[in-house]
Amino acid sequence: MARVVVDVMLKPEILDPQGKAVAQALPRLGFDGITAVRQGKRFELEVDGEVTEERLAQIRGAAETLLSNPVIEDFTVRVEEA
């Protein structure tokens, strides 16, 4: 069993209302010094058996078609140590 993590974030040029809401709330709660916040999605995929290159390529395919929307989002895929 291994875990693959896919992080999906809005492209930098795309408006991120969620991150904006958090960024505006932080100073109100007394948390200063944070200049910007982006909010994205994190997927944890449990993989049966070994994470081969082939499997990773498959997961990249899934990240591109299902987990992210390439029109507005970028993603990264990485294997996480158990």
Partner: protein
């Protein structure tokens, strides 16, 4: 009898909640999120809507509004507080009520006329109902799945703090079909469905929701 209705940025059903209070015979008062002043109200409604867009988690940001510190204090002192939908989410985030509300299990917003059963008719907001009474009121939410750990759920059931349950198909994946819960004292109630949309024959599916508002008027008179 003055019932305060809080408006957060993004509150939507505040107008309806005020109307429901008026239809029930109470005096609705506007409360503003940025004021700590509760204007000597006898009860508080946290209305439905999408406070701060609900972008982070429903109710997560509204919980920190200045008005909420006064609401929490009043609630601890026994003032009746009803959180409807987004208001329920704010109450959970404020830890006035246990548990949390998450994304509907079918991942879609749902708006429908929902059948409920009132399980506890002794709270400040449900005194006008009979235990076991069935109602139909609108339900509309995207993050309405009530969740809590088993210990909490068992305790809620054991203490009679499940105020209302969904009848028939569970509309949002709420654990044990829970539609509303109360605090121990019964003055704070959180409810996912919208009784304020069922107070007029003309605009609601029924008038079954009215008794929530008449109940609290009676409860505060009796108190």
């Amino acid at each position: 009898m003055r019932v305060g209705v809080v408006t957060f940025p993004g509150s939507l059903d505040d107008v309806d909640a005020r109307r429901a209070v008026a239809v029930a015979g109470g005096e609705p008062m506007r409360l503003w999120h940025a004021d700590e002043d509760l204007r000597y109200v006898d009860a508080v409604v946290l209305p439905g809507g999408f406070s701060y867009g609900d972008y982070l988690r429903a109710g997560a940001i509204a919980r920190f509004a200045p008005v909420m510190s006064s609401v929490v204090q009043a609630a601890r002192g026994g003032t009746p507080v009803l959180g409807i939908c987004n208001g329920f989410q704010v109450l959970c985030e404020s830890h006035l009520l246990p548990g949390a509300l998450i994304r509907n299990d079918h991942r879609k917003f749902v708006c429908r006329d929902q059948e409920l059963v009132i399980e506890n008719s002794t709270t400040a907001w449900t005194g006008g109902y009979a235990a076991g009474q069935h109602l139909v009121v609108p339900l509309k939410n995207g993050e309405g799945g009530y969740v809590a750990d088993d210990v909490t759920l068992d305790r809620l059931e054991g203490e009679g703090r499940v105020v209302a349950r969904y009848v028939g198909q569970n509309p949002n994946g709420s654990y044990r079909s829970i539609a509303g819960v109360s605090n121990e004292r019964g003055n704070v109630v959180g409810l996912m469905p919208h009784p304020e949309h069922a107070v007029e024959e003309l605009t609601g599916p029924t008038t079954d929701g009215l008794a929530f508002f008449t109940s609290v008027l009676r409860a505060t008179v009796d108190a």
